[in-house]
Symmetry: C2
Subunit: 271 residues, 2 copies
C-alpha cells in the first residue's frame, strides 16, 4: 500500500495544544499515512474564524482528499461557522463538553487559556517544578534536595535529564537528578549528599550498547564512550543500586513519557 | 456555590498522557469543581483490566458521586470490561477511532506506545531538540547556533529557558536562547555572535514589576533584582530589539504554551 498523505488542521480559540496532543496520539497509530500538520490557534473573533474557514476550504480544494480538522472551539457560534468547512471533523467540544456539563451539573465557563495562565496556581507550580529540575540537573546544586519529590540517579547519559524535565512539565514534580560516576563506584558507596534522601531515590539504567551510541555522539572515540567503559559503569551502577535497595528502570526501550508515568506510579504507590 | 470534588481516573493501555492532557484541558474550565486525578496506565492484560475495574467501582462506592473515567484503551475487549464500571466515561477511542478508520480507509493499528518509542524518528528528533535546547540555554554554547530553528533573546529571567524547552519538547524545534546583558546595552549593539542569525532571532520582554518579583526570588535585595535596574534593562532591551528589527513578545501575562504557539505561528509565516 502506498503512503497516503493527509493534511491535519488544528483549530482552537486557545493554543490548540490539547487538540494537537490528542491528534498526535490518535494519528500516529495509522502508520501507512503521512500527516502534515497546519495550525490555526487563537481564533477568538468572527473575522479570524471566517478567514480560517476560507483557508480550510482552499486546502480542501487543492488536495485530492479533504483535510482532517481537530478542533477545540469553545464559542458555539464560531464552531458552527467552522463546521461549514469541507473537512472531516474531530470536535472535542461537541463530543465531550455537553455530556460533561450534564454530569457535573455545572457550566463549562468557556474561558480561554484558563488551563495555563499566570493566575493559575497549577501553572505556577509547574513552572516552579521546571525551574527546580533545571537547577538540580546533573547534581549541579544540592542545596535543596530535601525539597525534591524525586531524585533520579544513574550513569551519565542514562536518560536522567529528559526524564526529570518531563516529570516537572507534565506532572509538576520537583525532580532532581544526580550522576553516579566512576569515583562513586571505586569508593563503593552512594554519594554522601544523597544518603539522607534514600526514600526518594530511583535509578535509571540502560543497555551498554545503547549508552555507547549515545555517548559516542557527544565524545567520539573516547574512553568515556568506549563499550568496555560503558559496560563497566552500567554493571557497577546496577550493583550499587541493588546493594542500596534503590529501585531502578531500564530506559533502553522506553520513551521518557513511559518512564515518567512509571515513576509517577511508584511515587503514588509509595504514598 | 460550594466547591464540588470529583475523582477523575485516567485509564489507558499506554501511558495515558493523551487522556490526561485532554482531561486537563477540559476539566480546568469547570472552575467550581476540584478534580482529584488517579492514574491507571499500561493496562495491557485482562488481569490488570479486571483489577482496574474493581478499583474504579471501589472508588465509586466510597464517594458520593461516581468518578469520571477518561480512557484511551485500544483493545476493544478490555474496553468493554472497563465500561462495566460505575462511572461517567469519556472514551476517546469510541468517539473518534471508528469514524477516523472510515475516513482514512485504513485500520487503526492498535500498537501501544508507537507515538513515542525509540524506533520512532519523530521521538528521536524531539529528544535531540531537547538536548539542543539544554546545550544552548542562556548562551552557554554558541558553536552550533547555525543549526538552531529559532534563537530567543531577552534579559535574564524574561522567560527564555522555559519557552525554549517547551518549543523543543512540544514541537521538536531546536530552540536556542541567548541573554541580553547590560554590557550589550552599553556597547549599543547585539552580541556579535548573534549577528549572523538575525533571521531566526525573536525577543521576549516582560513588565519590569514582574521581572523584579521573579529576580527577587533568586537574588533578594540585589541590584540585579531592583525595580530601577529591571526598568533600565527592559527599556534598553526593547530599544535594542526595535532598532535591530527583532520582533518581540511580552511574556508578562502569557503562559509558555501560549508563547510557544505564537512563536510557531511566526516561524510558519516566515517560511
Amino acid at each position: 500500500m502506498n503512503t497516503q498523505k493527509r493534511t491535519v488542521i488544528y483549530v482552537s480559540d486557545g493554543t490548540g495544544i490539547t487538540a494537537e496532543t490528542l491528534g498526535h496520539g490518535l494519528l500516529t497509530q495509522f502508520d501507512n499515512i503521512e500527516f502534515k500538520p497546519v495550525r490555526f490557534p487563537f481564533l477568538d473573533s468572527e473575522e479570524k474564524v471566517r478567514d480560517c474557514l476560507a483557508r480550510i476550504n482552499e486546502l480542501s480544494r487543492r488536495e485530492a482528499v479533504r483535510p482532517i480538522v481537530i478542533m477545540t472551539q469553545t464559542n458555539s457560534d464560531f464552531s458552527a461557522i467552522l463546521h461549514q468547512a469541507e473537512a472531516f471533523f474531530i470536535d472535542l467540544f461537541d463530543a465531550f463538553i455537553v455530556p460533561l456539563e450534564q454530569e457535573l451539573g455545572s457550566r463549562y465557563t468557556r474561558a480561554v487559556g484558563r488551563s495555563h495562565g499566570h493566575a493559575n496556581p497549577e501553572y505556577n507550580s509547574r513552572i516552579a517544578a521546571m525551574n527546580f529540575a533545571l537547577a538540580h540537573d546533573d547534581g549541579v546544586s544540592d542545596t535543596d534536595l530535601k525539597n525534591a519529590d524525586i531524585i533520579l540517579v544513574g550513569v551519565s547519559r542514562s536518560g536522567k535529564t529528559p526524564t526529570s524535565l518531563y516529570l516537572s512539565l507534565q506532572f509538576s514534580l520537583k525532580a532532581a537528578n544526580y550522576p553516579l560516576i566512576p569515583e562513586d563506584f571505586e569508593r563503593g558507596e552512594l554519594p554522601s549528599r544523597l544518603q539522607p534522601y534514600r526514600g526518594k531515590l530511583y535509578g535509571l539504567t540502560i543497555a551498554p550498547e545503547q549508552l555507547q551510541r549515545i555517548r559516542n555522539e557527544r565524545r567520539p572515540n573516547s574512553k568515556y564512550s568506549s563499550l568496555e567503559n560503558c559496560r563497566y559503569e552500567v554493571a557497577a551502577a546496577e550493583k550499587m543500586m541493588r546493594r542500596e535497595g534503590i529501585k531502578w528502570f531500564d530506559t533502553t526501550a522506553k520513551s521518557i513519557e513511559e518512564l515518567s508515568v512509571q515513576l509517577m506510579q511508584e511515587l503514588e504507590l509509595g504514598r
